[in-house]
């Protein structure tokens, strides 16, 4: 009897707690609104909305490759399962055509949809919450004036029990800090403008900041380097490993054109970011670059000196080498024949008609894992325009996995002068498995 009583009390408490939680987790729906007429918004607001949408990469997650813009369906692979970007065209039934500005604003700022459901943080509202009213309005104007597309968003496929949205209230309680961007009073206006664009809109940290086991960005490790789609997004703080230290100018060039002569081309998930930034005003990108450069800080004198020496060698038409290693390209000893035959023709300054970045300057060779280098060799390096020829061809098939692993080792130790990576073959196998299961690719 006693036992049953205790059990009863426990169940009652549990039920009350859970009920309380559900009440806490609940948000009221916001009334539907008639789709706004086209003349609701002025042209300048829509045009600014387009630029903000480009900086916010809305198209990256809300458009299937080759599909209609913002109509949703793009599958985002997360450690917790697959989440689909929703249809955010103004279609009344399958999009957000009946969302008032208040409903849109609540989604952007609080991660709650019109019906009151919590949204998954794969939607970077942890950044968008910092947006100004004016910018949310402009984004709303832009989105609501796109062509409506009828396309139901596919169901998500998440590990149990994460499909239950009220649980997200707990996640938010732990990790989500709603609130507007707070400018730094000491910093200059341009830096603050850049900080606002980067933190509130461009969400660079969504990839370049590490995440904890529950998928939240680690605040204490801002810009310390993260991952995206099987790629490493390198650190953008003082630990950035680029052999030639980034400057505000080189960052601006890279972000806007997808290329910088001393750092190479944006690749992998970074391509789309650069493609989007090519469509926004130069002064906005300059401000972002200024802020990112300020987070990186001035390089230590020794590193700056090394960088200047590398650039001087490159500008004199020779391949800079990092090491006193015996078999470096352009050096005295014979380089690895696979490197020399497959890579050196483009990557060695002495030989190239192509002038590709010498791999001694490549960030990919200096990261903690060979992922990015292996991606480059397996998939080739592609320019921002997906229809144009590859900058570098894929070597998948030309080289065996064993040869690719040995080549990665060679580039790492002999050209970049870094200690050998631990498990190149294992990393390569993992990338192949990811490719076979079609991770990150569109479903169409």
């Amino acid at each position: 009897m006693r036992f049953l009583k205790v059990l009863f009390v426990l169940v009652l408490c549990g039920g009350l707690l859970f009920g309380g939680f559900l009440v806490y987790a609940h948000h009221a729906p916001i009334e539907t609104a008639a789709p706004p007429a086209a003349d609701t918004f002025d042209a300048a607001t829509i045009a600014r909305g387009a630029e903000l949408a480009a900086m916010g990469n809305c198209n990256s997650c809300h458009t299937v490759e080759g599909g209609p813009a913002l109509a949703g369906g793009r599958a985002l692979e997360t450690p917790f399962g697959t989440i689909h970007g929703s249809n955010i065209t103004p279609d009344a039934d399958t999009g957000i055509g009946r969302w008032s500005k208040a409903a849109f604003s609540r989604a952007m700022r609080e991660g709650v949809d019109r019906d009151g459901n919590h949204l998954y943080p794969a939607f970077p509202y942890d950044h968008f919450t910092k947006l100004s009213d004016e910018d949310v309005d402009a984004l709303y104007a832009y989105v609501m004036t796109r062509t409506p597309v009828r396309a139901p968003t596919p169901e998500n496929d998440l590990v149990f029990p994460l499909g239950f949205r009220p649980l997200l209230a707990g996640w938010k309680l732990l990790f989500f800090r709603p609130g507007r961007f707070a400018p730094d009073n000491v910093a200059r206006d341009e830096t603050n403008h850049g900080a606002y664009l980067v933190e509130a809109l461009a969400h660079c940290g969504a990839c370049h900041t590490p995440r904890n086991t529950l998928g939240a960005e680690e605040r204490s490790a801002h810009f310390a380097g993260g991952t995206s789609d099987g790629w490493i997004a390198p650190a953008l703080d003082h630990k950035n490993p680029a052999p030639v230290p980034w400057t505000q100018e080189s960052l601006a060039r890279y972000l806007r054109s997808g290329f910088d002569r001393h750092h190479g081309a944006a690749s992998g998930p970074m391509i789309e970011v650069a493609r989007n930034l090519s469509r926004v005003p130069e002064q906005d990108v300059a401000a972002m670059a200024r802020y990112v450069a300020s987070v990186m800080g001035e390089p230590a004198p020794e590193r700056a000196e090394k960088g200047r020496a590398l650039v001087a060698t490159l500008e004199s038409g020779r391949t800079p080498v990092q090491t006193t290693g015996s078999s470096a390209p352009g050096g005295s000893a014979v380089p690895d024949p696979i490197y020399a035959g497959a890579c050196g023709g483009c990557h060695d300054a002495e030989r190239g008609a192509i002038d590709a970045l010498p791999l001694s300057l490549a960030t990919a060779a200096r990261l903690e894992s060979p992922q990015n280098l292996l991606h480059a060799v397996l998939e080739g390096v592609h320019p921002r325009n997906p229809k144009a020829a590859a900058l570098m061809p894929s070597f998948d098939g030309a080289l065996t996995d064993e040869q690719i692993a040995r080549l990665a080792d060679y580039v790492r130790t002999e050209i970049a002068g870094e200690p050998a990576w631990r498990d190149v073959a294992g990393t390569l196998a993992k990338i192949r498995k990811g490719a076979a299961s079609g991770s990150g690719e569109s479903t169409k």
Partner: protein, 170 residues
């Protein structure tokens, strides 16, 4: 000395291991089907097959190739007895200047060996890496479809029906 297996035959080659396969094929082995276009894996004229996959022979050093099966257009058939891929190209009269054609054939061959029921879109996607400056793309597409049909019928009625149902299903 490096031993290369080309079209099923073994060759001892005395060349720097960093030498691109293309140069060895053309200069040492006298196999002139693969062409030098750009030298940077951008145009596809040098495409050959290695272990069943299409590769750019101009950026593939012979050091990577011992023990692997290399195939060139010379391995697809002869003038007297052209193989299905070659017959497809002859039937469709797909060549204008012809420079890109061997590369096109080898990339298409690799595709059809892997996927005999390749759709038109599959063919377009695969051949996108190979450039043709004369503009004979529509005929090249036609040639590859003919080759696919010839390969299917060569595999006999059983293979033919399997492929046909596959084709209907997609």
């Amino acid at each position: 000395m490096i031993t290369l297996t080309v079209n099923g035959r073994s060759h001892e080659v005395d060349a720097d291991p960093a030498t691109p396969l293309l140069y060895v094929l053309r200069d040492d082995l006298g196999l002139h089907a693969a062409k030098y276009g750009c030298g940077f894996g951008q145009c596809g004229a040098c495409t050959v097959m290695v272990d069943g996959r299409a590769v750019f022979s101009c950026v593939t050093p012979i050091a990577a190739l011992p023990g692997r099966q290399i195939k060139t257009v010379e391995g697809l058939g002869t003038i007297e007895d052209p193989g299905p891929m070659q017959r497809g190209f002859i039937e469709a009269q797909a060549a204008q200047c012809g420079y890109c054609i061997p590369g096109m054939m080898m990339r298409a061959q690799a595709l059809l060996e892997q996927n005999p029921a390749a759709s038109e879109q599959d063919i377009r996607d695969h051949l996108a890496l190979n450039l043709c400056r004369c503009g004979t793309h529509m005929r090249i597409l036609d040639a590859v479809k003919r080759a696919a049909a010839l390969m299917r019928s060569a595999r006999g009625p059983d293979a033919g029906t399997t492929v046909a149902t596959d084709g209907a299903a997609r």
